[in-house]
Symmetry: C2
Subunit: 170 residues, 2 copies
């Protein structure tokens, strides 16, 4: 079985100059490694204790959906503008390279009280903070964040009051 | 267990006037129903015979990733502009409401010869045709398309020479 760290490639100056982009998609080309990663993430106490998962558009969907299946947990989606129908809650955020906003379908939150946030990578933490603020605005509780990769130097986790679990750190 | 068809809501005039948007995200809030759907999709001969899955940005990731995990098949991703690093193959397409383009990482195709395309919904078939053309341009074979929902009236499947399997049709 190939090692997780050997499947993550670094691209310099993507998507903008000065950014070292960690591409996690190679993991999904190796089913054994992907399966082991998902088993590990799905067995986290953060997932086990959460009523539901929130996955962040779009690479977070890849890991969130697989964890949802493995752990038998409901999953909802934080999406970029114009993607979700229905009544939405929405918030802007600043990210490592630009500004954007995320939306969640308001009704999808009604059945659940506690959430685990899932994404592929934690950088400055802008997107995760945005999702956490959206959840808190509806009186929901964030139990923690699970990511495949954490870029420690950027200090993203210092923004949060909840725990962060990363499978790999750089 | 809730029925698949009861979890799909229709939104009128989204994302544009005249479109009846089928929202499949409700499925993922019901783990039992989601699991049954993924078991069924993952057991398709199209998946079993394919070297790898191609999932289409971004709702296709949700189903593709879960099928990949269940069937132990590699998965690669057809993404919208600006999302993928590295050497890409790219093609424009017309969709039900607008124009866009999709890219695939060229290296991710190297290890595989035959592919199953996975998406949430088949409408006019523009995005799927685009992905199939991208694969064919690299001398790869498309074994078939799996979707959760097919909008039959739009005749998308008539565009393809490969089989289409839909869990629900409207």
């Amino acid at each position: 079985m190939k090692k997780l760290e050997d499947l993550i490639l670094t691209y310099k100056d993507f998507p903008k100059k000065g950014i070292y982009f960690k591409d996690i998609l190679g993991i999904t080309q190796e089913p054994e490694t992907f399966n082991e990663l998902i088993i590990k993430m799905a067995s986290s106490e953060i997932i086990k204790n959460a009523d539901a998962i929130v996955a962040i558009d779009a690479r977070g969907f890849i890991f969130g959906s697989a964890i949802s299946l493995k752990a038998s947990k409901p999953i909802i989606f934080a999406r970029k503008p114009g993607k979700l129908p229905g009544q939405l809650i929405q918030k802007k955020y600043n990210l490592e390279y630009g500004e954007n906003s995320l939306s969640i379908q308001k009704e999808s939150l009604n059945k659940f009280k506690t959430f685990a946030i899932v994404d592929d990578l934690l950088a400055t933490g802008g997107t995760v903070s945005c999702v956490a603020d959206l959840l808190k605005s509806q009186n929901k509780k964030v139990l923690g964040l699970l990511v495949v990769v954490e870029l420690k130097e950027l200090g993203g986790r210092l923004k949060f009051k909840f725990p962060v679990e990363a499978s790999l750190s750089y």
